[in-house]
């Protein structure tokens, strides 16, 4: 038993002073934080410099466009104060089809004007005739102008029908030509998007949104909200409701997001939640793999340089294995405590406010420690077995690479969770022992420990049971594996070994 402590102490002390421990405790987390915050910084940076041009093919009332611009200006501004969105009515003035249709319409309009004039003149003349009492041939003149008037009116009706046809034709030419122009502007990336507002928007309620990036949900959502507002406003105005009344009614509702937590409700912040959970999971991964990696290389080195033989003559294989696992486990614990200490120091120095980051609390620190310990023990048993089975550094390097790649999988899977934290698949994945620690840390930081009480108990039991099983297997493999030099055990031999010993 004493040798167990001596071995543990030795493993702890020799690694604690090593450069790689300092590196993975201080430098690596720093690099990692930089690495994930930099892209976020660039993302927001880019978003803020560029003003976006939104084209509009407006078939309805002019005022809609001005209102749209006004609303966008009111809601979305860049940091320097300039509007984030500029609305641009799409021009079709240069289109020959439109020009032709337009000039035809104008000619028709002119004819219409002149016939209206003529008609009015005849009407006026008739009024004059009618009012003159002693006009010679009055009845004849009235009869004659009446015929003229009927004739002119028929002509005018005809021209009016033709004018309407032309108007409709012009509208349809405008519709198609404006879309074509807008498409080409979108293609040249002059426009970020364009909208097509139909003529009968007040009844129709469909506005088309054209873009290259329909995935940009944020943008579409913003435009949707603003359009909704101005269309409703226009409809109200048409119903003769006064403007002040309208603006009062349309005062937008703000949604403040709160989340139920063990310590009362907390306001919810997407970025804090997102990065917080990821940092938590990656730190857990780093902690497990720093000590796990040390453990793996310790077993392997002792096997390759045959120190193990000396150790075995002084201590039992069980003592050696346990000493290593616990010594390096305490090393990992030290690392985690250093991180928690740094976090506490930051909070103390007000570098970030614990009040704003809800998961920075003592309960969650304890859960982090719990899942670190359980996760480490499980992975440690696996590392010990693998280290004992392989016999050369080279093979070990390869397997180490494979292990690390496999081990980052849970971290990647965690992104699933961001999308749908309550889905069934997440629940199932949480109960897979190798994934449990990562998923639980993620879920605790997202949902709060209170919502997960049952899962915390269940996963603790699952982990403890699998640790016991795995350690049992590892002890056997370790005992036999470490004395076999020069050759790697194959699966058949391992199976045999587990059966017989």
């Amino acid at each position: 038993m004493k040798n167990f402590f001596r071995i543990a102490r030795w493993e702890y002390m020799t690694r604690f002073r090593s450069r790689s421990f300092l590196f993975s405790t201080f430098i690596l987390p720093m690099l990692f934080s930089l690495l994930i915050t930099l892209p976020a910084f660039f993302l927001t940076y880019e978003e803020e410099v560029s003003t976006k041009l939104i084209g509009v093919v407006n078939l309805g009332e002019r005022s809609l466009v001005t209102n749209l611009q006004k609303q966008l200006n009111k809601n979305f501004r860049l940091k320097n104060g300039t509007p984030e969105y500029v609305v641009m009515p799409v021009s079709v003035d240069n289109s020959p089809d439109y020009k032709k249709a337009h000039s035809e319409l104008q000619t028709m309009q002119a004819r219409m004007d002149s016939i209206t004039q003529a008609y009015n003149a005849i009407k006026d003349l008739r009024v004059q005739y009618y009012n003159r009492r002693n006009l010679p041939n009055k009845n004849y003149l009235l009869q004659k102008t009446y015929d003229e008037m009927v004739e002119t009116r028929e002509l005018k009706d005809l021209i009016e029908i033709e004018l309407e046809t032309h108007q409709a034709q012009l509208d349809s030419v405008f519709n198609s030509e404006a879309r074509r122009a807008a498409d080409s502007l979108l293609f040249k990336q002059v426009l970020n998007a364009y909208l097509v507002i139909p003529e009968d928007i007040e009844d129709n309620s469909v506005i088309e949104y054209h873009t290259y990036t329909p995935g940009n949900l944020l943008e579409a959502e913003r435009l949707h909200a603003v359009l909704n507002e101005i269309i409703i406003e226009a409809r109200m105005a048409n119903a003769n409701i006064n403007t002040r009344q309208i603006s009062e009614w349309l005062e937008p509702v703000q949604l403040k997001k709160y989340q139920l937590r063990a310590r009362g409700e907390q306001e919810w912040n997407f970025y804090v939640e997102f990065y917080g959970s990821i940092i938590g999971v990656v730190l857990l991964f780093m902690a497990i793999f720093t000590s796990g990696g040390f453990l793996f290389s310790s077993v392997l080195q002792e096997k390759t340089n045959r120190v193990i033989e000396v150790l075995l003559s002084y201590a039992s294989s069980r003592q050696i294995m346990a000493g290593k696992i616990f010594g390096l486990g305490f090393l990992g614990l030290t690392q985690v405590l250093i991180w928690l200490g740094i976090a506490a120091l930051f909070v103390f120095l007000n570098l970030f406010q614990a009040g704003q980051i809800p998961y920075l609390n003592w309960d969650n620190a304890l859960y982090f420690l719990l899942y670190f310990c359980l996760g480490y023990l499980l992975y440690a048993a696996i590392f010990v077995s693998i280290g004992a089975v392989f016999s050369s550094e080279q093979e070990a390097q390869q397997i180490n690479l494979v292990l690390r790649t496999l081990a980052i999988l849970p971290v990647l899977l965690v992104f699933l969770l961001l999308k749908e934290p309550n889905s069934g698949i997440i629940q199932v994945l949480t109960y897979i022992p190798l994934l449990t620690p990562y998923f639980m840390i993620m879920r605790i930081s997202q949902q709060g420990a209170l919502a997960l009480q049952a899962d915390i108990y269940i996963t603790t039991v699952i982990l403890v049971v699998s640790i016991i099983g795995m350690v049992f297997v590892a002890a056997k493999i370790f005992r036999m594996g470490i004395l076999m030099y020069g050759k790697k055990l194959n699966w058949k031999e391992i199976k045999l070994l587990l059966k017989t010993s």
Binding site: K2, N3, R6, I7, W10, T14, S18, E302, T304, N305, R306, V307, I308, E309, V310, L311, L312, S313, Y314, A315, L483, Y485
Partner: protein, 303 residues
């Protein structure tokens, strides 16, 4: 007294030890000899409690091995290995404490040994800064730091220069004088001849020769003589009662067949025919005995 009785050990189908027995008395330097794969390392591992025998037992002063404290044993494995990234003192102290020494005592003993080995100035050096020979000495210190009663040394001389071989030999002799049991396993027959008083030759997991060094030499003495002369020794072929074992131009190794016969006559005849420069009895060489016995054993086994 260390007694090994009827040890049997098999790895899967392969019978590595087959009823192996021997005894070592205190103050004896016991050499375990044998070709590669004879079962030496397995025997040593069983002695060190690293492996368990399938059958048979090991007794130390009448007590079964499992009840004897591990601290009474010291072991220098054949494959050398030390933690490369530790200081010499830290490493020795660690191995000392694993044998239940106090940290303080382990340090004192370590420095005492380092001084004796002429390595005291390397106390705080990293192991990987040391030469291979120095590392080997460090490992020897590690195996004896806790003053074991039984010291098992697997190829202790390999890789040491002649001067250090002498240092090591002296230390081993000192342990012998202290009445400790020393078990050597080596392929260097000259070292065995110089050092050992009891040898045990094993082949294919069985003892094929076990006895005191002098007795073995006596037993395998061929009554051979070496002659070196100024003249040609061709006339020896004509002589009766003589067998020529090796012949060179002016030297010869002969065996006298019939010792009861005219030993004097042969000698005088020899000396009268040639001017003899050297004439002495050839002691059997352990190396030759080793090869002869192994070959014989293997040919018997193949029959």
């Amino acid at each position: 007294m260390l007694e090994v009785k009827e040890l049997r050990k098999a790895f899967n189908e392969n019978q590595v030890l087959d009823s192996l027995s021997f005894r070592v008395k205190p103050g004896e330097i016991f050499s375990l000899l044998g070709p590669n794969g004879a079962g030496k390392t397995t025997t040593i591992r069983i002695l060190m409690n690293i492996l368990r025998a399938d059958e048979g037992e090991i007794l130390y002063n009448g007590e079964p091995r499992s009840k004897v404290s591990q601290r009474k044993f010291g072991y220098l494995p054949e494959e050398r290995g030390l933690y490369q990234r530790a200081t010499v003192l830290a490493l020795l102290t660690y191995f000392g404490t694993l044998n239940n020494m106090s940290r303080h005592r382990a340090e004192i003993e370590a420095i005492r040994f380092l001084d004796r080995m002429g390595l005291v100035e390397y106390t705080e050096k990293m192991v990987n800064e040391l030469s291979k020979g120095m590392q080997q000495k460090i490992q020897f210190i590690a195996s004896t730091l806790h003053a074991p009663e039984i010291l098992i040394l697997d190829e202790p001389f390999a890789g040491l220069d002649p001067v250090n071989q002498i240092v090591l030999r002296e230390i081993i002799r000192q342990y012998q004088e202290e009445g400790k049991i020393i078990i050597l396993s080596t392929h260097q027959m000259d070292e065995v001849e110089k050092l050992s008083d009891h040898i045990c030759l094993i082949n294919q997991g069985r003892v094929i020769l076990d006895g005191k060094m002098e007795e073995i030499k006596k037993q395998y003495r061929e009554d051979a003589y070496y002659i070196e002369a100024e003249d040609d020794l061709g006339f020896l072929h004509e002589m009766e009662d003589i067998e020529i074992l090796e012949e060179k131009n002016k030297s010869c190794k002969i065996a006298i067949k019939n010792m009861n016969g005219d030993f004097k006559k042969i000698i005088s005849k020899l000396f009268s025919r040639a001017t003899v420069k050297k004439f002495y009895m050839v002691e059997p060489n352990l190396h030759d005995i080793f090869i002869k016995l192994i070959q014989k054993d293997n040919s018997q086994a193949s029959k």
